[in-house]
């Protein structure tokens, strides 16, 4: 099965379109199942925590999953962009554009849940600005928005792909720099405002299950989006005309 013909169907829009269509339900079901399991574990199986953390710690299961995905998707996006740029493979560029909005959404979730968690767990006057992780999320959100808006503004599809690729490649190189710079301790910054604690095993498992669920969801959502992008950009090709021509 793992021969050339198998891999080739993932490499051109024409062959990937139906394959992606079959893959979406699989990933969606996995996402929902693991999501249900993760939520059950986090709400009912984790021990109650007393003291500083309080019940607000139920937020971290989505917060951590979303922040992992936000970073991870950007890296994957940069990888696809690089691949598409070097090999001139249109599908890779399309995957990069399809991942960006999902990544931006994950970043947004991570940012907002992070702020809510900070307020709930430590103090209601929590300002999120000195928190390096949230600050990185904010910069990451801007990076995603820059990528998305650049591709929206450019009319020509090929130029949009390639311009986005350059931005994503440079962004991936800069992301560790930004992360490191924001973390750099200065006098204004408390060393670490997150109290260290050891998590019970159930919580770790619940968190990993939630990360898995978000991961599966991200794949499903970007596959759905990449199908729409393929239709948008391959209008003049025979396969789209066959596919959509049959419907009209």
């Amino acid at each position: 099965m793992l021969n050339r013909a198998f891999w080739l169907q993932f490499s051109t829009p024409k062959t990937f379109y139906p394959v992606a269509g079959k893959m979406i339900p699989v990933f969606m079901v996995l996402a929902v199942l693991s999501g249900v399991i993760g939520l059950y574990l986090s709400f009912f199986e984790t021990p109650r925590v007393a003291g500083l953390q309080k019940e607000a710690y139920h937020i971290i299961f989505v917060h951590v999953a979303a922040s992992w995905m936000s970073m991870f998707i950007y890296m994957i996006m940069g990888g696809y962009a690089m691949l598409g740029f070097i090999l001139k493979a249109r599908l890779s560029g399309m995957m990069a554009s399809a991942l960006a909005p999902t990544g931006a959404m994950m970043t947004f979730i991570a940012l907002i849940t992070g702020i809510i968690w900070g307020r709930a767990a430590w103090n209601p006057n929590f300002t999120w600005t000195p928190d390096p992780r949230l600050m990185t999320e904010l910069v990451l959100f801007f990076l995603y928005m820059g990528f998305i808006l650049l591709q929206v503004v450019i009319d020509d599809a090929r130029r949009a792909m390639r311009a986005g690729a350059i931005l994503a490649i440079v962004g991936v190189v800069f992301l560790p720099l930004i992360f490191f710079a924001v973390k750099l301790p200065t006098i204004h910054q408390p060393a670490n405002i997150r109290p260290g604690h050891t998590m019970p095993v159930v919580s770790v498992v619940a968190m990993l299950v939630m990360v898995f669920s978000f991961w599966m969801y991200s794949i499903a959502a970007s596959l759905m989006r990449v199908r729409a992008i393929m239709l948008e950009q391959e209008k003049r090709t025979a396969w789209v005309q066959q596919l959509l021509g049959a419907k009209t």
């Binding site: 009912f44 019940e55 139920h58 909005p101 979730i109 907002i112 809510i116 709930a120 969801y217 239709l231």
Partner: protein
């Protein structure tokens, strides 16, 4: 069972005010994203029809 009652589960010692909106946000974001993708898919089909019509006009023009 770690919760004493449904009330306890929902209220969470007052922390429910923070927990549930967070989950609501996630749910809203996911629903919105899927809605936007579906909308984009529909839009791609509409744009395709426009494109086909435009091309027909242009082809007729170049034949004339």
């Amino acid at each position: 069972m770690k919760w004493q009652s449904v009330y306890d589960f929902v209220f969470m010692n007052g922390q429910g005010w923070y927990v549930w909106p967070s989950y609501l946000l996630v749910a809203v974001c996911i629903v919105a994203e899927i809605f936007f993708i579906k909308w984009r898919d529909k839009n791609a089909e509409i744009k395709f029809k426009q494109y086909v019509n435009l091309k027909r006009v242009q082809d007729n023009e170049s034949e004339a």
